[in-house]
Symmetry: C3
Subunit: 178 residues, 3 copies
């Protein structure tokens, strides 16, 4: 099975664990389409470890990509850069949830607004990457539990409106929907 399945129209959610190859799989979906793409990055480099991880992701991508930073205003960035014949990759939703929590935002409302945007006809394919974080032991830390709840509910909302949902493990896809 080729990792370079044809890029679905509408929204595609790519879920996976840490270092599961989910970003690379999502990039592969878009690169195989040959479309010029916007990479919408939600990451903010708070420390050296984050700066290194962001740099590694950036170095891997080819010249087809234009990077846009959207730590908070994700829906606006998708709307602004969705062009016919283009493509959008959002990497990743879990960092967006983290940023929203740090900013004291209304996360259920933000999640609902993103799901509503993605449920409407989109000018181009939008692939969203996110970390599945709910399959370990319940965290001791109340904020980590809250984060896990927000992320899980967001995944359910986006999965419900997405045309395709893929779970990636060890770089390999399992189709959940589509």
């Amino acid at each position: 099975m080729s990792l370079a399945a044809p890029l679905a129209s509408g929204a595609t959610l790519v879920l996976g664990g840490a270092r599961s190859g989910k970003s690379r799989f999502a990039e592969g979906l878009i690169e195989a389409s040959g479309r010029p793409a916007f990479y919408i990055a939600t990451a903010e480099a708070h420390d050296d470890e984050m700066r290194r991880r962001i740099g590694e992701h950036r170095d891997r991508r080819s010249g087809l990509w234009t990077t846009v930073d959207a730590p908070l205003a994700l829906g606006e960035a998708i709307t602004a850069h969705a062009q016919p014949d283009g493509a959008i990759l959002v990497d990743c939703l879990t960092l967006w949830v983290t940023n929203l929590m740090l900013a004291g935002a209304d996360i259920p409302a933000e999640s609902e607004a993103l799901a509503t945007l993605l449920s409407q006809p989109l000018p181009c394919p939008v692939v969203l990457v996110s970390n599945e974080v709910g399959l370990g032991i319940v965290p001791d830390n109340a904020m980590a539990r809250e984060f896990r709840d927000h992320a899980g509910r967001l995944h359910q909302s986006i999965a419900a409106v997405a045309m395709r949902v893929t779970f990636v493990a060890a770089g390999l896809p399992l189709i959940l929907k589509g």
Copy 2:
């Protein structure tokens, strides 16, 4: 694919992470059958957070449901409420394991007894929800490791006798068995 697949006879195990939509998926299986159902709750509200979570689950369910509390005597509750034309939802096995640990019970023996009960012909479908908790980093805490071991072994025992096993991620089912 409809979430409302026909309700299998015998036991169905629904595994998933935190906020994966596993309870809602399990409720959907039973509600689609139109059968009056017993909701066997293993949760005990030790604090406000738990009370809120239990309340959210309860508010979501329709009037078809009768709630029964069974923090420890789960097999007895299943036997007492299994009626022809009815259905049973157990939510969830991981909280039952937690309660058994706090009560100092013999968990391998309790797990074996539940698997034996579920391996026998049942008067009605029984759907059991549980958290997959073994896919994160090994916990520092010895009790958390012990819990994780008990939960994992219980899942294997129940899955071996269940007619159907489903893994739920982002509200979407992956069929493991059945």
Copy 3:
């Protein structure tokens, strides 16, 4: 579906969580083949809990198995014991990564060397078991994050060259590849 699917030639990667039944599933693959097998153990018993876990795994296996310890020199052990008509089980890769970290080894280089070895024609089937550890909350501990990164990257490398990759949950297999 029988757990005893025919044993594929080449490398098979069996991923799963703690107490998911992944080792038992992998052993079943090899036992069903009837081939005499080498069990290459990467575990080192640092404490009583580890000694107990190793003993449980060892007690479960039948007389067809010869146990070989390879906490660090895994590739050498595979090469030394790969014989036509035989079979090899490596249990598990995540403990190998832990041992390499404790020894201060160059883990990307070691991972690459193992993937290269497994990508070449092998005299007999080699089944490798590993823990998926990347599906929980980001660990607080920097060493745990580093371990999680090494394990995830190794899984991607091995999965890319393996003939078959299986994810095991509750003792049941999901085919990722092959």
